[in-house]
């Protein structure tokens, strides 16, 4: 027990998140585009006589507004460090969970179970996410297994059998979607990534004593470390202060020229380390998910004829879905330079993100229809409706995380 406490990482994990040059370029480009979009929104608002209906303009401006918020908070998180970013995602999850449970009718007997859901499981889960990749087993299992057992048990103890299974399922679904699924996005920050040829890429955020030992003594016995890590790496010192050197030491080779087969890392292994940053990958993911929503909406408006499930959502069409998939794949390919992916891998990731995001939107629409509300935002007036913004993110995050973890870290073999 004591050893476990001793092994907890120090608060030095407040440390900076590394942002490499490509990531900074992408952040800058997005900032510029957001500025332009904001400006266009202003102009459209001033011209009520234009061809576009005022409702569309209002939706557009609201969307841009919420993107600005996401952008600013995310960048602030990156600048403040790893802990701040995880806390930011925790707050988003917490708020989404509030919206979800507020919308869902619960009974008196659910009160204590809800209390533990909010006060214990949500923060605890994010705590383990913050502890990083070594606790992958804990944060992957806790909510799907233990919360799923504790919640029905706690409800049962309250002694109200009415619609028991339905009530517990609602709480479990809320926790799974709002907290568990979304938390896979910040969990990306602590993966020890490599590209598909096995060359290390980027830098995991949590630097542990174990890492330092491995880097210093060149021991290959680390459980989660790649076999390629058996030589000291000057490019990955534990001190954040030395990080800016990394890009200079390691010129970034183009993705195509990577040597196939087992990685070749010599004493001069640093030369082969591709620069990159996990934060850039996280930003790439969020950007694709958000734009995928827009692509699907836009294609649906332009070409949409065949509605997929009119009773669930009358505006989601096959044309919008397919158009969105293709557009997102294209964008994912174009932006592949901030990721460890090769071009075709980026395209596939785009496809996966698009399909999962679409599934998320459909699922949340179904829940909303069942409750007879249009938006989570209008549920309680004046609230922004966090759940409306993150539904596709919640569904895409676990898929993207696991694909990345399996194929772009050493665990995939």
């Amino acid at each position: 027990m004591l050893a476990w406490f001793a092994n907890l990482p120090p608060l030095a994990q407040l440390q900076q998140i590394q942002l490499d040059a490509p990531t900074n370029i992408l952040l800058g480009v997005v900032l510029a585009l957001l500025g332009i979009a904001w400006f266009i929104g202003r102009i459209l608002k001033r011209q009520p006589e234009s061809a576009i209906s005022p409702a569309v303009v209002r939706t557009f401006n609201l969307r841009i507004g919420s993107w600005w918020m996401i952008y600013v908070i995310l960048i602030a998180g990156f600048k403040l460090g790893y802990l701040a970013t995880v806390v930011f995602f925790f707050l988003v999850s917490f708020w989404a969970l509030r919206e979800f449970i507020t919308m869902t009718p619960t009974r008196r007997g659910d009160h204590r179970a809800l209390f533990w859901t909010f006060i214990a499981f949500t923060p605890l889960h994010y705590y383990f996410v913050w502890l990083g990749r070594d606790y992958y087993g804990v944060y992957t299992v806790m909510i799907p297994v233990y919360a799923s057992l504790v919640i029905p048990a706690r409800v049962a103890f309250s002694g109200d059998p009415k619609r028991f299974l339905e009530r517990t399922a609602k709480i479990q679904a809320a926790l799974l979607i709002c907290v568990y699924a979304l938390s896979h996005a910040p969990a990306l920050l602590d993966l020890r990534l490599q590209d598909s040829t096995g060359r290390p890429w980027g830098r995991p955020t949590v630097q542990r004593e174990a890492d330092r030992l491995i880097f210093a003594q060149a021991q290959p016995s680390e459980p989660t470390g790649p076999p390629a890590k058996d030589s000291p790496k000057p490019a990955e010192p534990p001190k954040p202060a030395e990080q800016p050197k990394a890009p200079k030491l390691a010129p970034r080779p183009t993705p195509e020229v990577g040597p196939p087969g087992p990685p070749v890392v010599s004493a001069a292994g640093a030369e082969l380390v591709r620069t990159g940053s996990n934060a850039g990958l996280l930003f790439y993911f969020i950007l694709l998910v958000q734009l995928n929503d827009v692509f699907q909406y836009a294609w649906g408006i332009m070409l949409g004829k065949h509605v997929i499930a009119p009773q669930i959502n009358a505006s989601r069409t096959w044309e919008g879905f397919i158009g969105g998939c293709l557009s997102t794949m294209l964008l994912a390919t174009l932006l592949v330079w901030v990721t460890p992916f090769q071009t075709w891998q980026g395209a596939l990731m785009g496809l996966v993100i698009s399909v999962a995001g679409f599934a998320g939107g459909m699922t949340m629409s179904a829940i909303k229809r069942e409750r007879g509300v249009k938006d989570y935002g209008t549920l309680v007036q004046g609230h922004a409706g966090v759940l409306d913004r993150i539904d596709s993110l919640c569904f895409a995050a676990p898929v993207f995380f696991h694909l990345t973890r399996y194929f772009f870290t050493s665990i995939g073999g």
């Binding site: 509030r98 919206e99 449970i101 619960t106 009160h111 204590r112 209390f115 007036q381 004046g382």
Partner: protein, 201 residues
């Protein structure tokens, strides 16, 4: 003292996730009686916290003495929110609570009252007790402002002491007064309907 109150109000607002809507009415420091449906122990605190600061300073919630003077924390909170504590057991014997309220507010303070008397466990609001009528009769100058509290009963239901931070909504409606020659039953029904109407808006 004032800082603690602001912090307490902030916590109450954060915990209850309260949205405040003013419908056909404005915040004002004139003397008012805010009357609301009663669903949770948090009701008085959350309404009080939802008011703008200047209004808050001249508004006193009316609360049950047996609950709010039990234990140092509750007593501390009641004191900080400047609550008027009513002894529910001794109401009829010694003094009318309406007289006590009128004495306490003088010509400066507003009140937050819950005419249903006790917290409601059903979906439907209970009948209003007559206190509001006598208050209106003795002080016809007071504006009677209906308030509807939504979802707070799920944040802290009856018999629970740990709140679940869901989202709630406070709707404040247009003031009404006791009409001349309006009898007690009609007035109480009208007041109850005014609260009920805010639910649909």
């Amino acid at each position: 003292m004032k800082i603690t109150v602001s912090i307490l109000a902030g916590i109450a607002k954060l915990l209850s996730g309260a949205t405040v809507r003013w419908i056909e009415s404005q915040p004002d420091t004139c003397q008012r009686v805010y009357f609301a449906n009663h669903t949770s122990h948090l009701d008085a605190l959350v309404i009080w916290s939802s008011l703008p600061r200047a209004v808050r300073e001249v508004t006193r919630p009316v609360a049950a003495k047996d609950y709010w003077s039990a234990g140092p924390i509750r007593r501390y909170i009641a004191q900080n929110f400047n609550a008027i504590l009513i002894d529910r057991d001794e109401i009829k014997v010694h003094q009318s609570p309406v007289d006590l309220m009128i004495r306490e507010i003088g010509s400066r303070y507003s009140l937050i009252v819950f005419p249903e008397g006790t917290r409601n466990t059903e979906e439907e609001m209970q009948e209003f007790k007559s206190g509001l009528y006598y208050l209106a009769k003795k002080r016809p100058d007071l504006e009677l402002v209906p308030v509807y509290i939504d979802n707070l009963n799920r944040v802290l239901p009856r018999g629970e002491f740990l709140p679940v931070p869901l989202l709630s909504c406070i709707t404040i409606g247009p003031p009404l007064w006791l009409e001349p020659k309006e009898n007690k039953l009609l007035f109480l029904k009208r007041a109850r309907d005014a609260v009920q109407r805010l639910k649909e808006q």
